[in-house]
Every structure is written in C-alpha cells, then in structure tokens.
Amino acid sequence: MDLAMDFPAFNEALPETILGLSAILILVFGAFRGDKGMTSISALCGAALIGAAFAAAWSPLGTAFSGSFVSDGVSVFAKVAMYIASAFIIVLGQGYFDRLNNRRFEFPILILLATLGMSIMVSAGDLIALYVGLELQSLALYVLAAFRRDDAKSSEAGLKYFVLGALASGLLLYGASLVYGFAGSMYFTDIAAAANDNMNVGLIFGLVFVISGLAFKVSAAPFHMWTPDVYEGAPTPVVAFFAGAPKFAAMILLARVLETAFLTEIDQWRQVLLVLAVLSFAVGGLGGLMQKDFKRLLAYSSIANMGYALLAIAAGTTQGIQALLMFFALYMVDSLGLFAAQMSLQRKDGEPVTRIDQFAGLAKVNMPIAIAITILALSVLGMPPFGGFWSKYFVFGAALSSDLIWFAVAGLVASVIAAFYYLRLIKLMWFDAPVVEFGKAPLETRWIALASAAFSFPGAIVFLIFGSVLAAAAVVGFGAH
C-alpha cells in the first residue's frame, strides 16, 4: 500500500509521523528490554530524530489535515534545528544518567515525545493544534523536570513547573476560548478574516491571554518565576533541553498566532510584546547579578535573551521573523554548550560543580573547557565576533527598521548588565586560584562544549553565510507580508 497516495496529508506531516511511530515502537522495545537497554534506546531515538530532520527538510510544504497542520519554511527551519538539538540532549542525558547509575529508558522516549509536541506547535494552523502540541510538549517536560524522583530538588522543580504550567495552560485556554467565541473559528486564517472584518475588544482580550500563556512557556518576565527554581533543580541535560528547543517552538508559535491570525491588530499586540521584552531585559539583567548558582545564572540569562526574541517578533515584519530564526539557531548552540560545559565540571568525588565561585581557577586545571566557557559566555552576552553578537545584530536590525529604537537601546543596556556577571565568571576562571579539585571531564560533555564553542566563534561566520540565506528563504510567505 502506498501510504502517501492513500493519505496525502502524511506527505506534509512526515516528520511528525516518523517521530510518533518511532516513539511508540521504541517504547514497546523498551518495555521488553528494560532499563539495561537504555543505550540502544537512546541510539534509536537519536536515529529517529535525525531521520525526522531529513524528512522535515525534504517533505513538501503546504497545509494538511483541513488546515490544522501548516508546513512552511519557518516550520521546517525550526523543526530541523529542534530535532538536532534534541538529539544532542539525548547524548548528554545518556552520559548523565549513566554516571548517576540511574539508567531509565523512558528518558530518550520522553525527549522524543516532547519534540513531537514542539513539532506540532511550530506547525499549528489552528487553536486546537496549538493547545494539543503545547500540552504534549509541556507534559513531557514536567515529567522530565522531576525525572530524578529521589532528589528533593528535582521533585520540587517538577511540581513547581507543573502547577505553574497548568495555570499558564488555563490562561491560554481561556484566551483561546474567547478568540474562538468572537471569531467563530479555530483556524488562524479564519480568525484573521474575522479580525479584519470586525476588530472586537473580545478578540484582543483573548489574544492577551493567549500571549500570557505562551509567555509563560518561553519564560518571559513577568511570567518567569518558575525559571530559576526549575533550572536549579531539574537534571542538567533536561535544563539544557528546556533552554533551547521548547522556547524556540513556543516563540515560533507566538509569531505564527500574531502574524497570521492577528496581523491587522499589530498595534495592539506590539505593545504587549514590548512590555514583556523590556521587563525580561530588566529581570534577566538585574536578577542575574545576585546569583551564586551557575544554572540559576543561566536561567536569568535566558530570561534576558527571551527579551531579544520578543523584540524580533514585535518588529512585526518578515525581517523580524528571519531575525528570530537566526537568533534561536545561534542561541540554542550557545546555551547547549554552556550546559554541556557545566556538566563536564565535576569534583574528584563526582559531585557536580554548580556554584559560580567553584569555577575559580578552571583555566589552570582544564584549559580547553575554560576557553569554551569563555567563548560561550562572551557569545551569550553579545560580544563581537562571536555567534551571540550576530544573533543580536539581526534582532536589532529588525527592531530598528520597525522604529523600535528605544527598545533596542534597552536591549543593549541589558547586554551591558549581563556583561558584568559573565565577565565576573571569566575573571574567576582565569585569574583566581582553584578552590575545588576538578575531576576528569566526561567525554561527551567535553566534546559538545568544545564543538559549541567552535561553532560560536569561527563556525558562526560560516553559518551566517548560508544560515541567513536559509532563514531568508524560510520566511517567504510567512504571515501576510
């Protein structure tokens, strides 16, 4: 039977089909093999993700399933980036749980299912697909946050994330129901038509709730309160996952809702996004100054970085979406590298090094990792010529061409504040005496940290050449511009 002929929709949704079917099959395999099969299950899940990435790159564009599923350039770009990032997380998680002697075969499968949810999110063409994708992703992430169930902090992180996440889902659903009620349709295209005909205060009201729900998922201030605690408590590979792909997916979703369904109301939602962005700059910048824990520091750094992504969407142009794609492609590499570097640092007795003051003197003990952290930290704070600078360059370019000069300035100020705490980290590593005895860095974390650093500096230059071409091609036809 030719599947593609009988079910034409599966042509477009091939990556999701691959992810879903392989998750089920691998789950059955895992149920028989048990936890001792975790290595092979991780490998299978990684292979499924790579396969899905290829399928995403080559499957045809278009809409399917009566409009619930949209495959366009932006979704393909996001999917390929997310699948690759998820595959790296599986590698990190495999090593992490191996060393803890706590192998659980569900870990890679939950990553796979979370990725499926993100995939549904970036391809959502209506409000139901939006919500179901978001829930699939969030539910898997709640479980992953509490994955070390014997660890009090991990359980706390999972519970906190779950309770606050459920609240955010409630906000989002309330907003979605208002939008549906006032627009009379679930589909973004119909909502756009309804919003165009009759701009209604009820629609705006619903839209603000939808934005709030999504802002929670991307941890933009003032919906950020879960971020530091969850980052601190959840297992590190899971946090590395949180920091990248799910936020990318939620941002793309936000951009799609705003720019396809509500483009005519840009004056309304732009204010909301700008408030969120400026608050994120403030909270991320100032909150990071007080932190003593490395993962909490990265949490505040990610809050500030979400401000830039929101600024890119607030530009409301295809240039803004292109900036968003480039921003996340580069930012995901930086944050993955920083978390991998943190995982590679452990004391002689195997305890992880998490406090910032314990990083002191790293350069004398482990020069490559210290160089990698330095490059990545400089990149995240936006120092040229590292990758992070270019990601912010695109965002500021989009903001300036939409006359958002003062908000770009606010972003610059946030960068300067972030520079303070990253430079303190660099100073500690290079000029202070070691306070802890570092053990040997695990192989895969070291390689991922070094590779990310290499991507961030010489690699980003190469990436810019073809990445910006890809991103420019991806945004053609996105929204109404």
């Binding site: 499968i109 939950l110 499926l116 549904i120 179901v132 699939l136 539910l139 479980v143 509490a146 999972g158």
Partner: protein, 204 residues
C-alpha cells in the same frame, strides 16, 4: 408527547432530590451513591434532548470513573466527616451568599436567552439529519480532526509514561510469585541427596 413530559419531570425531580441528598446525607458513601443517581438522571435528561453521546459520556466518564474514584477516596482515606461537619453553621452564611449569586446568575441567563434556542421550544438542529449525533461526532473526529485526535492520544501516552516513571518502583525485597520460575524449576535445583552418617545428621 405526554410520555416525554412525564419522563422529563420524573428525571428532573430525581436529579434535584439526589443532588439535595448528596449534600445532606450523613454517610459519605451514601452521598457518593446519590451523586451517581444524579449523574444517571442527568444522563437521562440528555437522552431526552437528543444528545445520546453526551448521555453515554456522562455515564462512562462521570459514573464509571469520577464517581468510582470518589468512592475509593471516601472509603480509603480516614476522613472524620463528623468533624468536617462541625463548622456547618459557620460556613452557612458565605455558602448561602455563593448559592444565591449562582441562582441569580442562572435565572438571569435563562431569562436573557428565553426567547432563543431550546428554551423557546425549538428543537436543536442536527448537522446531518440522516445520521445520529454519535455518527456525526465520529465522522468529524476521524476526518477533520484526525490529526489533533491522534495528537491527543500522544498526550495521554505521555501521561501514562509519566505516571509510571515517577511512581513505579521495583522493590527487590518483596517476595513475588513468578510462575515462570516455578514451572521451570527442576528437581536437581531443589533436591540434593546427601549421604549422611548414622547418628550424626548433616551440617550445611
């Protein structure tokens, strides 16, 4: 039509009385049983409205799952219900206020829409006159919404995996019956013939 009217008033009355008994019954187990009765009568009302699917859903989900869960909770948790009831008089006034507001809202909404829809005596319009509403829902669910339907299935799968990951513990110290081990056990695994000297016995 009179039969319909009798059925309606009968079930409406049973629903109301059962609802009242849920709150006033002394024994919490009786409360849950009255709750089940109320659910069943409400399901009957749905059937009268022509919404068979909702009626089935009410019985399967609310009676089959929610009420039984309540029953389990009531029976398994050692809650002192007499103690819980002691504050009844204290909560009476705020409770009455909330109930009054709810009643006002219901009456107000009913009054506002009295001229429209079912309240005006118009029968609900079927999307497909030739199919029952279960068929119609099935057709929509498995065609237009097949994609989100499958995705919702994955959400439930994640919930199952999550529940197992977070709670299942393999406790090795618990003795379990393993049929396979029992059946495959051979005589030589269990019985040893040891030559023993007379009057001395065997030492391990």
């Amino acid at each position: 039509m009179t039969l319909m009217a009798i059925a309606f008033y009968l079930m409406a009355a049973v629903t109301l009385v059962a609802g009242l008994l849920v709150v006033t019954a002394r024994n919490p187990v009786h409360s849950v049983l009255y709750l089940i009765l109320a659910f069943f009568s409400a399901a009957g009302l749905f059937v009268l409205l022509g919404a068979e699917f909702l009626a089935m859903l009410l019985i399967v989900v609310y009676v089959g799952a929610v009420a039984v869960l309540f029953l389990f909770v009531v029976m398994m948790l050692d809650v002192d219900f007499i103690k819980l009831r002691q504050g009844f008089a204290n909560y009476l006034a705020p409770g009455a206020v909330v109930a009054g507001i709810l009643a006002f809202e219901l009456i107000f909404v009913g009054w506002a829409v009295a001229g429209r829809g079912a309240a005006a005596g118009n029968a609900p319009q079927a999307a497909r006159p030739d199919a029952t509403n279960i068929q119609t829902i099935g057709l929509e669910l498995y065609t237009t919404y097949a994609y989100v339907f499958e995705a919702a299935g994955f959400v439930l799968l994640v919930a199952m995996i999550g529940a197992i990951v977070l709670t299942l513990r393999h406790r090795t110290y618990v003795k379990r019956q393993d049929i396979y081990k029992q059946v495959t056990r051979r005589r030589k695994d269990a019985v040893a013939v040891v030559p023993a000297k007379t009057g001395e016995g065997i030492q391990e």
